[in-house]
Assembly symmetry: C2
Homo-oligomer: 217 residues x 2
């Protein structure tokens, strides 16, 4: 059964791998699954055809036969549950790996994403500069807690898991601001993720899309 995901026709980051299709590509590469990609323009993303697949008009989505999923966390968990290598077999370790997946998207990503809102969406507001400083401090607070927990471990809980895949993907989004590099153990953790062959293939695939000429219409 062919797996098809969606991705930006052109990512706002120009190919830095920070759009959410990269984490899904990474999970598919870790699982050794081939996949097709359907590119979606910003305009098409908000049209009924795509909104039927993704009610919030975003990417990525995952289609395989009559299964359609959205939400990168859910897609990665589905891949992890149905293929070896991304979740431990011990029931408790498995529960903790899934816990780190939720921690990534619910506790670590929101303040990081909020910086994009403060810079891009509210960048023209008179309060932008003052508020950006506040949001950066909130990111630092969360990353300091995560840094304390990680300590000098290689991964968050034993072997590499889908929890690390999602956490590394989320932390990558804090690198352009310089905040990730304020926490050397987190920066090294992210670098370990990026060094995985599956990540490299995923990154290269999204880069190829984002540096290819746009289709002429």
């Amino acid at each position: 059964m062919t797996i098809t995901i969606t991705a930006f026709e052109r990512s706002p980051d120009g190919g830095k791998g920070l759009a959410r299709d990269t984490r899904v590509r990474w999970a598919l590469e870790e699982a050794g699954l081939p996949y097709d990609v359907r590119l979606v323009s910003f305009q098409a993303m908000k049209e009924p055809t795509h909104m039927r697949v993704h009610p919030f008009g975003q990417i990525p989505t995952y289609e395989e036969g009559d299964l359609t999923l959205f939400e990168s966390g859910a897609i990665i968990l589905y891949i992890a549950e149905n293929n070896p290598g991304l979740l431990p077999s011990d029931a408790h370790a498995r529960a903790r790996a899934i816990m780190w997946m939720f921690a990534a998207v619910n506790s670590v990503e929101p303040p990081i994403f909020d910086l994009t809102t403060a810079k891009i969406v509210e960048g023209d507001k008179p309060w932008a500069e003052q508020r950006i400083a506040l949001v950066k401090d909130r990111i630092r607070q969360r990353l300091a807690q995560l840094s304390d927990r990680l300590g000098d471990a290689q991964w968050l809980d034993g072997e590499f898991s889908a929890g690390d895949l999602l956490m590394v993907s989320v932390l990558l989004r804090s690198r352009p601001s310089g905040i990730l590099d304020e926490f050397p153990n987190l920066a090294a953790y992210v670098a370990r993720g990026e060094a995985r062959p599956a990540y490299k293939r995923a990154f290269a695939a999204q880069l190829a899309v984002n540096t290819a000429p746009l289709p002429t219409t």
Copy 2:
């Protein structure tokens, strides 16, 4: 094996059921599992004893024998996977129920939670009023999309699932602002959740905590 969760000694909402322990209590009640509650003060929450259980110094946590979890979404999924009634048995329907869990915490809760930040954390800033209006519009945009998807269905995807439990819990947090009631089908959906006996027991349990006299120290 005894299940112990943590909750606020006194919730900031004074017992409206909006703190994240309520959703875990609800899942435990749906599953028919007895549980103990360890109450944590705001001060104790940031101390090493609790930070070892929850690296971000929050509630709820879940302890059962040698398993310790944090993140309400992960706790609810663990309960749902190990007890009947909260996840469908069909593999695709199960994946979609988990998708709605991630959608609740990653796509719907962040703008709703941001309103609390705008009102409470940044309420004394000169930009507070203008920014609150912006954040409210973002909540409306997301809820409009969810409202379109739900339509006149009872639940998000067939039978009630952990996806509905988490989505209803998150939507409840948009009621104090009045925004939930701008979407009659979402308000009715939330009311269906609140009408479930398990929800009522969970709500009553957290209310009892939040209206009891504080321990004198």
